[in-house]
């Protein structure tokens, strides 16, 4: 029984990291119409920048903030100088995917060129182990769960209450009509890349904290789990992505405890196939963005 509770605890931590990343990925698709396969590359590049800062003696939570800023800047620049120009040329969605795939390859290997092939770890103090209900979690893990709850709340407030957030939802559901209402959708899209880029960077650092050590290609498999939770939740649906992340975070960690950690991503893939077979539009079907 202990092993179940412990793995559910790990699952909540993984789900937290996954939720931050999946919400960002799904918003990028929903609002800007790009399936961004450079997401893993941006995550790792941001996590590595946080490592450089952390290595210089800065606290890891400030490192997480630095990763957020780095992710925002990288994503903004990618959109400004690569994605927007290609979109203006009416590049097809699949053409955009090839572009982001190439960008991801470039980013990942920039990290490899600078950081070298060996994995690195953050200097961080996990803090005391605390009992939260039935779970025993470290202060660091509780901090990660709290971070993702704060981000989920902030995204909810952004989308429901702010002018920018409503414009994002409007652009997501009908960009042409948004423009006809006078909304400069290119600016909304640029803001989307800044915000989701920050989340991508934060999730990169959180992913690195959760995995203990990381290297240039560590996010490749994690991106598969992100894509799975995004599609399980319904592509373009932030709330669906949170739900998908919770489901996949729990299932992958519990399965890791009972079967073997080697097949975590395979389990995620099987869940994805199951959902696609039964409900191709995802768990949250209608657009609720």
């Amino acid at each position: 029984m202990d092993i179940v509770i412990a793995s559910v605890g790990f699952g909540l931590v993984t789900a937290s990291v996954l939720a931050i990343a999946s919400v960002a990925f799904t918003m990028q698709f929903g609002i800007t119409d790009v399936l961004n396969l450079s997401f893993g590359g941006v995550m790792i590049a941001s996590a590595f920048i946080a490592y450089v800062v952390n290595n210089a003696g800065v606290n890891i939570w400030i490192g997480v903030l630095v990763a957020g800023v780095a992710g925002a800047i990288i994503s903004y620049l990618i959109n400004r100088f690569v994605l927007t120009p290609f979109k203006r040329r009416n590049t097809s969605p699949i053409g955009m995917v090839i572009v982001t795939l190439a960008l991801g390859l470039i980013l990942e290997n920039l990290v490899l060129a600078v950081a070298g092939p060996n994995n690195v770890s953050y200097a961080m103090n996990s803090g005391p182990t605390l009992a939260v209900g039935a779970f025993e979690l470290t202060a660091l893990q509780i901090g990660m769960i709290a971070l993702s709850l704060i981000i989920a709340g902030a995204i909810h407030a952004l989308l429901r209450l702010t002018r920018l957030g409503k414009a994002m939802r409007a652009t997501s559901c009908n960009a042409g009509l948004a423009r006809a209402s006078g909304i400069r959708t290119e600016r909304v899209i640029a803001s989307t890349w800044l915000i989701t880029g920050a989340l991508c960077g934060i999730s990169g650092a959180a992913f690195a904290m959760n995995s203990g050590s990381f290297g240039s290609s560590s996010a490749e498999l994690f991106l598969v789990v992100i894509i799975a939770s995004v599609f399980v939740g319904g592509v373009g649906q932030p709330y669906g992505a949170m739900l998908g992340a919770l489901l996949l975070g729990l299932v992958t960690e519990v399965s890791a405890a009972f079967i073997t950690p080697d097949y975590k991503e395979v389990i995620a893939f099987i869940i994805l196939l199951g959902v696609m077979a039964l409900r191709p539009q995802g768990l949250i079907a209608r657009a609720t963005v």
Binding site: F86, S92, L105, I106, L221
Partner: protein, 342 residues
């Protein structure tokens, strides 16, 4: 020529042959039919593994240091045929996924995800193909005729590889230069219109995925017969990006473009540089190679989307960015067509 030089040349010839065969398969899918298969490398991998376990003896042989299925010890060319069949069969589930996908970019990404997951499974599930270590000591085809270490065998094998390039080129040309090839291009340019004139695009797509898969499987079989080992690290997902880069750079929809792309990117740029001395810390040279590969894709898509050798049919030869616009105008023509007659 020293024997070292000859080994170098024959090695490049075989690698080049493998890349050309693979790029021709990808050119059929991506160039002619417009199917972006981000999982293309798994078909090459399937061909290599199946050819390996068909030609290897039982896994208890060789001291039993590796574990794998089959081990049928078949004679050449049966393992190659098996490899091609395996590549083709593996394409059937992909075809079903593509059919169910809501959008072409979803289909492309699902094939990429599948490729990553399959690599993980083979990497971890040792009984299948010996896990991360991979299968080794794969017998060289016709190794009973000549000693595989001899120059004679090297020349013979590069000859066979080049011969297979020609065979594959002829077969693929037969497909793409026929009325069926025209239908494939019509599907690529405007699927709605192709369906409207009665083309079964689902079946066409499945046929192309199977044919391309079989060609990729054959390329894997040729490769594994030469390097005698095959492991998950040889077919990670970026290997597909290299082949896509080759086809984009060479020229989509033109087989000679695909051949040129194979000679330029995987062979000329990646394989040839493996023989120059490395500089900098470990991993730097491959990292730089990948960065340049990514940049080449972006630069070509932006400045020369039609590639070095553009597709010949001018009316149909549209760049990828123009395809969306073409689809819109096609739909508009359909919508407004009848009205013009009034």
């Amino acid at each position: 020529m020293s024997s070292g030089t000859i080994f170098y040349i024959t090695t490049l010839l075989v690698y080049g042959g493998v890349d050309v065969v693979a790029c021709l398969g990808l050119s059929l899918q991506f160039g002619t039919a417009g199917i972006t298969n981000f999982g293309f490398i798994i078909y090459q991998a399937a061909g290599a593994y199946v050819a390996a376990v068909l030609s290897l003896p039982r896994d208890t042989a060789n001291g039993g240091f590796q574990t794998y299925v089959l081990g049928l010890h078949l004679a050449f060319p049966l393992p190659w045929i098996g490899g091609a069949v395996a590549g083709g069969l593996l394409a059937i589930p992909a075809g079903l996924v593509v059919r169910r996908s809501l959008r072409p970019d979803f289909a492309g990404v699902s094939m990429l995800v599948t490729a990553v997951i399959l690599n993980t499974v083979v990497d971890n599930f040792v009984p299948l193909f010996n896990g991360a270590a991979g299968v080794a000591l794969v017998p060289s085809p016709l190794g009973n005729l000549f000693n595989p270490q001899s120059l004679k065998w090297q020349w013979m094998y590069s000859g066979i590889a080049l011969f297979m390039c020609i065979v594959v080129l002829l077969v693929i040309r037969l497909i793409t230069e026929s009325p069926y090839g025209r239908s494939l291009r019509a599907m690529r340019e405007d699927e709605t219109a192709a369906k409207a004139v009665g083309k079964n695009t689902d079946r066409m797509r499945m046929t192309v995925l199977i044919t391309g898969g079989a060609v990729a499987g054959l390329s894997g079989a040729i490769l594994v017969g030469f390097i005698n080992l095959w492991a998950p690290s040889a077919w990670t997902y970026p290997e597909t990006i290299v082949l896509i880069a080759a086809v984009i750079i060479g020229g989509r929809g033109n087989h000679y473009g695909a051949i040129l792309g194979a000679a330029l990117v995987p062979l000329g740029f990646l394989e040839a540089t493996r023989f120059i001395p490395a500089f900098g810390p470990a991993g730097l040279v491959p990292a730089l190679e990948w960065i340049v590969t990514g940049l080449l894709i972006l630069v070509f898509l932006w400045f020369r989307p039609q590639g070095v050798i553009p597709e010949r049919r001018h009316r149909l030869a549209r760049s990828l960015p123009a395809q969306a616009a073409a689809a819109v105008s096609g739909a508009a023509e359909l919508a407004t067509g009848p009205a013009r007659g009034q």
